[in-house]
Symmetry: C2
């Protein structure tokens, strides 16, 4: 699982070639490029930060081999027993067809099980297994003590809550 990149992600690295502007002005070797108004563009900075956060999450939870999406499914299962696939998926913004393979993965690792509902035999109730509960508990500890702790150290407790508040505004606009 290599580092995630994106159209709006990595920092520039040092280069090695001389360059000359069309105006003919000599440019210092390997001068970093100008970001221009990108550094003020919220979406640009936002995406870079988001990628870093996910990278860090994955690294912190790496012993348990859980992606952010998988973690979010387990958390939802813990807090919402008796719900079916569609309910879990749509709550997380996952389309039902795409949730099938995802659940297959979690179920094959015995972190959850599908149980055919007796009230509506079309639907599958998704339940955490004991193993799933245990893995989730360990994951939550790793997230709290490593991932969120690092973010707290970087932003400060007040900064973190201010950030959460703004993110909340943004996500429901």
């Amino acid at each position: 699982m290599a580092a995630t990149r994106s159209a709006v992600s990595r920092a520039p690295r040092a280069r090695s070639k001389a360059a000359e502007t069309p105006q003919g002005a000599a440019v210092a070797d390997s001068a970093p490029l100008q970001l221009g108004e990108l550094s003020e563009l919220l979406g640009y900075v936002f995406k870079r930060a988001q990628l870093r956060i996910f990278e860090d999450f994955i690294r912190c939870v790496e012993p348990l081999q859980l992606t952010p999406a998988q973690f979010s499914v387990l958390v939802l299962l813990e807090h919402n027993p008796g719900r079916n696939q569609t309910e879990i998926a749509t709550t997380l913004g996952i389309l039902r067809p795409n949730f099938v393979a995802m659940l297959d993965g979690l179920e094959s690792r015995e972190l959850c099980v599908r149980v055919r509902s007796t009230q509506d035999r079309r639907s599958h109730i998704v339940m955490l297994t004991d193993k799933g509960r245990s893995v989730l508990a360990r994951a939550k500890r790793l997230v709290a003590t490593k991932h969120e702790a690092r973010l707290n150290a970087l932003l400060g407790e007040d900064g973190r809550s201010a950030l959460l508040g703004m993110l909340d505004k943004l996500s429901k606009f």
Copy 2:
């Protein structure tokens, strides 16, 4: 180009079926699911917000048919004349192989051109065309008057700059 979704993105929508918890307690019809600790998980809220911001960007710039990534390329070209493909791509975190098709798209729309460098005949200098400059200018206006204006209205000018500061910290940690 349908709305972007993600494993960590959309808001829950109303549902329509009755449900009952395993404990047997009847649950109000279509009760929204509990997010649990997800609502405090920075990465989760972050990703949702990021998707909204990109959605809004795309919508605001829709008349010009520019994605955030394409916009960022044009901005970089404007501020860094005389640079080659590799320099532009790596500055934006785009891998060179993936930048080829992206540039093909922009070049086929005559927004930029590749010019073989006379100093180093391996490299292609990427230049904005007049049309590219014009499209970029219009895009920047749309971004400023619609996209960023909306974000400013939502966050306030002080909130916006506070947010930018925190995003900056996050993206270089």
